[in-house]
């Protein structure tokens, strides 16, 4: 055993000896010279003087020698330290190998925690936190707006309004506008078309981000002004569609049938401020009216607020300053453009914060926070476990450590050794965590998330995300090591030796109990989440969506993408309907402006019934959703008409204006009376519609929504929306019909490009607006729950087994005095139950508080759900008793005489 005190003594002796040796050597030299000179007959005194003269300045020589020696000593000391460190590491590894069950339990606890945290961070970080990677990204501000019906901040700024903002040089150094759009895209004039996502951007867009093109040039102000039919490709699309061919510049890309000249390629990874979705290319806003002749020219339309503003703050301007100005501007805009509506308000957000509020689903933040929270709890449970195991281990080594302390090992050295051991342990956990994180990330990335367009993000385990996990791991390793080290300093050796096995004493035991209690509580929280999600799935699967989805295939057919006007579009839709109906496997075909359980289902309207309009001075109607559907819609979707009739072919432009309302709308407009034959309208000044039928209330946009008023209009009378969908009911396996359906649309009109085909069942089960969020939540929360439970078992078992080992003698005495094995087992089980019970109570209290935040993600389940809470409490109690049982049985089987002799 290398021993600090002895070493230091040795070192001092070594230094002193060096000093003596040097003096002796130099004296020897001078005296030899003197005696030689004296032999030659010189006077002894003169000889001594001459010898000294010849030697030169002895003090100077001594100084030089000291310097040389000091350097050598420094190197030596460093070598010793290295050796000592290496010794500690070897000692630590040997110690860890010596107790494999401890090592495996502690390292895997850490690995589980780190793995889970890193994997979740790897998902959330690129989405929410990572910087955009453009110069001075912290200056970027995203501006959207809210209005009366859209409460999430949305891209709701008009181009003229954006221009006014751009003129405010005192607020911004640069202002750009962008809007997402889906287009029918062909790479060649005659090839197969495909729907792709792209961005309309203003000329300042690329200059604002200060990025350089990967090839060719980027868009400039002039393109916008000249309405130049040009396009810049996203790097990913350039690679995918053109195999990164630089010769592509100058060639055309057909968007909605119009050739746009490719002028350049954006840099790799660039997608503006968007994070969820990735654009395939960028088109100047000026081109909008050309690509969409039926659409309005946003450039000159102050009442067309559908852009998002990205700006760079001017020096010294805070986002709050900008917001104050925007508030004034918003009021002025409402005054100038009444169409914007009363509640219209521009809102500015600094770039990373905007990701949670603008454009992205508002649930993104909740989901991200929840996953991070769950992973954090698993990490907490894992770290607590590791700490606890290390503490336990340190206690059980007390005798060994005390002995070494008594033999003269310094506390510093012992602390260093414990620390080294724990760092080694942390490193093993870290390696395991990395592997686990990687496996989890691969699994998460492969989760089937149905989306029509490429997602703008991917799971990435990199230096950043893993570094965070590593910091936590090594930090907790240090903490876990420091605890025992601190317990060891500041107490005198004699007392420690006398204490014998009772060693670390009550204080240590309390710390460990508190840690296990915290761990049980963390597990309870994670499990409550898992339970809520699982029961949420049950509830959601039982929801009556009012739809019969199994045999229904849906596809989007947007006539605006072929630049059709209304008349041409309706003709094309007729042809498509006829062509689809002629297929043998098709039983029903219905046109609609929206597909249930998607954002397309229904525009927001206000209902004014003929009886209530007179006394409504406020002018507010009943908020509702509306869609226009073909005659066969209700039979195709399986929506029952409870009263009255469905639409007929005669309900067209020439026929009387009719509508079908759902039960909810009927209740709200004419409570307690039959609505059939009554009239209402969708706004003051709009034509009256006569109610001809009542449809059963179903689910429209979200599967978890509360009963919503809904109004159906005949497809040919309804809203002027040419972005239509077709719902087709087929016989047999719907997926097998996809090819034939697509071909039929192509035969009917080759210039129309249908969207991806999906079954209604898929929308319900795997859609973003269907069960997907709950399912994902359940899978991930359950996984976290299993991990937390495992960790709790290890933690409880470790603590109780240790307690039993510590109390061997006491238990022996009790058995010797006639305690029955049952009483011994009962006592130990009771200890486990008390510990778990306290943890469960704390955990349930925390769970009730935090699950409330996730209410938006759950369907049909109150967050304070007695069944779930009870089940979790029982499960943990069972696990606790199970963990305590093995050590308890071991205690009960103790041989009294041997137990008494122990220690």
């Amino acid at each position: 055993v290398s021993d600090d005190r002895r070493w230091r003594r040795y070192w001092r002796a070594l230094c002193a000896r060096f000093g003596r040796d040097v003096d002796e050597e130099l004296r020897f030299h001078v005296e030899m010279r003197a005696s030689e000179l004296a032999e030659k007959g010189m006077d002894p005194e003169a000889a001594a003087r001459e010898a000294e003269r010849r030697f030169g300045n002895r003090r100077e020589v001594r100084r030089r020698l000291d310097r040389i020696e000091r350097r050598r000593r420094g190197l030596l000391r460093f070598g010793f330290l290295l050796e000592e460190l290496w010794q500690d590491i070897r000692y630590g590894i040997r110690g860890l190998l010596h107790r494999p069950s401890f090592t495996i339990a502690a390292a895997s606890s850490l690995a589980l925690g780190i793995g889970a945290t890193t994997a979740v961070l790897a998902i959330v970080d690129p989405l929410l936190f990572r910087s955009l990677g453009v110069p001075a990204a912290d200056e970027l501000v995203v501006i959207g707006a809210v209005n009366k019906s859209v409460h999430v901040v949305a891209p709701l700024v008009s181009v003229p309004a954006g221009r006014e903002l751009a003129a405010r040089g005192d607020l911004f150094t640069d202002v750009a506008l962008m809007r997402m759009q889906i287009g029918a895209v062909r790479l060649t004039g005659s090839g197969q078309g495909e729907r792709r996502l792209f961005f309309f951007v203003s000329g300042r867009y690329f200059p604002l981000f200060r990025v350089r093109p990967a090839a060719g040039r980027l868009l400039i102000d002039d393109d916008d002004r000249r309405k130049a039919p040009v396009v810049v490709l996203a790097h990913r699309f350039w690679k995918e569609a053109y195999r990164a061919d630089p010769m592509v510049i100058g060639r055309p890309l057909y968007v909605n049938g119009l050739p746009l000249t490719i002028v350049g390629v954006a840099p790799p990874g660039f997608q503006g401020v968007e994070h969820l979705v990735a654009a395939d290319f960028f088109v100047p806003i000026g081109v909008e009216s050309v690509v969409w002749p039926t659409g309005r020219d946003s450039g000159e339309c102050p009442a067309c607020p559908n852009f998002q503003v990205i700006a760079r703050r001017a020096g010294g301007r805070s986002v709050a300053d900008i917001q104050r100005v925007l508030d004034v501007e918003s009021r002025r805009m409402i005054h100038d453009v009444p169409d914007l509506g009363e509640g219209y308000r521009l809102l500015a957000f600094p770039e990373p914060a905007a990701r949670l509020t603008i454009a992205a689903a508002s649930t993104l933040g909740t989901v991200g926070t929840m996953f991070l929270g769950l992973a954090g709890l698993v990490l907490l449970a894992g770290s607590v476990n590791a700490t606890n195991l290390v503490l336990t281990r340190a206690s059980s080594r007390k005798t060994e450590l005390n002995l070494r302390l008594a033999l003269g090992a310094s506390r510093g050295r012992l602390a260093r050794q414990l620390l080294t051991e724990n760092v080694v342990l942390a490193l093993v956990g870290l390696a395991g965590g990395y592997v686990l994180a990687w496996l989890l990330a691969v699994w998460l990335e492969r989760l089937p998330i149905p989306f029509d367009f490429p997602l703008g993000w991917h799971v990435a385990i990199d230096r950043r995300t893993f570094g965070f996990g590593a910091a936590i791991a090594v930090g907790s390793g240090l903490l876990a090591g420091l605890g025992p080290a601190l317990l060891y300093s500041g107490r005198d050796v004699q007392r420690r030796l006398r204490e014998g096995r009772g060693g670390v004493g009550r204080g240590g035991e309390r710390v460990r109990s508190a840690l296990v209690l915290g761990q049980v509580a963390a597990s309870v929280v994670v499990l409550v989440f898992a339970g809520l999600f699982v029961s949420s799935i049950r509830q959601a699967e039982a929801i009556d969506t009012g739809l019969v989805g199994d045999q229904v295939v849906t596809m989007g057919i947007d006539a605006t993408l072929a630049r059709y006007d209304r008349a041409k579009a309706l003709l094309a839709y007729d042809r498509i309907e006829r062509e689809l109906k002629s297929l043998p496997m098709v039983t029903n075909v219905a046109l609609t402006t929206g597909i249930p359980l998607s954002p397309s289902m229904g525009i927001t309207v206000s209902l004014y019934s003929d009886e209530t309009i007179a006394d409504r001075r406020t002018g507010d109607g009943i908020g509702s959703l509306a869609a226009s559907v073909g005659p066969d819609y209700f039979t195709t979707m399986g929506i029952p008409i409870l009263e009255g009739r469905a639409f007929r072919l005669e309900d067209d432009r020439a026929g009387a204006r009719v509508a079908i309302v759902n039960q909810r709308a009927a209740e709200l407009m004419w409570p307690g009376r039959s609505p059939i034959g009554r009239r209402f309208r969708l706004g003051p000044g709009e034509p009256f519609l006569e109610v001809v039928g009542i449809a059963k209330t179903g689910r429209y946009i979200l599967i978890g929504e509360s009963p919503t008023p809904f109004v159906y209009q005949p497809f040919k009378q309804g809203i002027d929306d040419l972005d239509a969908f077709v719902a087709v009911k087929v016989r047999g396996e719907p997926e097998l019909a996809f090819g034939a359906l697509r071909a039929a649309v192509d035969r009917a009109d080759p210039s129309l490009v249908p969207s991806k085909l999906t079954t209604l069942r898929t929308r319900i089960d795997d859609g973003f607006n269907g069960l997907l969020p709950v399912r994902l939540g359940a899978v991930i929360a359950s996984l976290a729950g299993v991990l937390a439970l495992l960790l709790t078992v290890v933690g409880l078992y470790g603590l109780i087994a240790y307690g039993v080992a510590q109390r061997t003698r006491e238990i022996g005495v009790r058995i010797a005095l006639g305690a029955s094995p049952g009483a011994v087992v009962g006592g130990i089980l009771g200890q486990g139950a008390r510990l778990a019970g306290a943890g469960i109570v704390v955990g349930l209290a925390v769970a009730v508080l935090v699950t409330r935040k996730a209410a938006g993600l759950l369907i049909g389940v109150p967050t304070t759900n007695p069944a779930v809470l009870g089940a979790v409490a029982l499960a943990l109690l069972g696990v606790a008793l199970g963990s305590a049982f093995l050590p308890a049985r071991r205690a009960a089987r103790l041989d009294a005489t041997q137990a008494l002799r122990s220690d």
């Binding site: 050597e25 130099l26 020897f28 030299h29 030169g56 300045n57 100077e60 030089r64 020698l65 020696e69």
Partner: protein
């Protein structure tokens, strides 16, 4: 005559090539071998010896001198011996080159 830079190390190594010597012995050997032609400040011998020891070319042990006094004896290590060989070669090459230059005609060959 002043010592050329670096020559002291060479002379020390050479002095030890035959047998282990104490510092004073090294001094005496150099004096005799050079016929007292070189003026060495005796004190500077020791820093040189310590540096050589630091580089691992010589090692030292305490022993008894002829007059039975405790003295530090230095001897060459294997690496020191090798170093001596290279330094001898370098020095000879250097001296030869200088001699050649000194004997050459004063006019540059065309």
């Amino acid at each position: 005559m002043e010592l050329l830079r670096g020559t002291l190390d060479l002379l020390i190594l050479r002095s030890l090539s035959h047998e282990p010597l104490h510092g004073y012995g090294v001094m005496r050997w150099i004096e005799e071998a050079t016929g007292q032609a070189l003026a060495i400040e005796e004190g500077s011998l020791y820093p040189a010896l310590y540096r050589l020891e630091d580089r691992g070319w010589v090692e030292s042990d305490w022993g008894r001198s002829a007059n039975n006094r405790r003295a530090r004896y230095y001897h060459l290590t294997a690496r020191g011996r090798a170093q001596l060989k290279t330094e001898v070669r370098h020095f000879t090459d250097f001296a030869k080159a200088v001699f050649r230059a000194l004997e050459a005609p004063a006019v540059a060959p065309s």
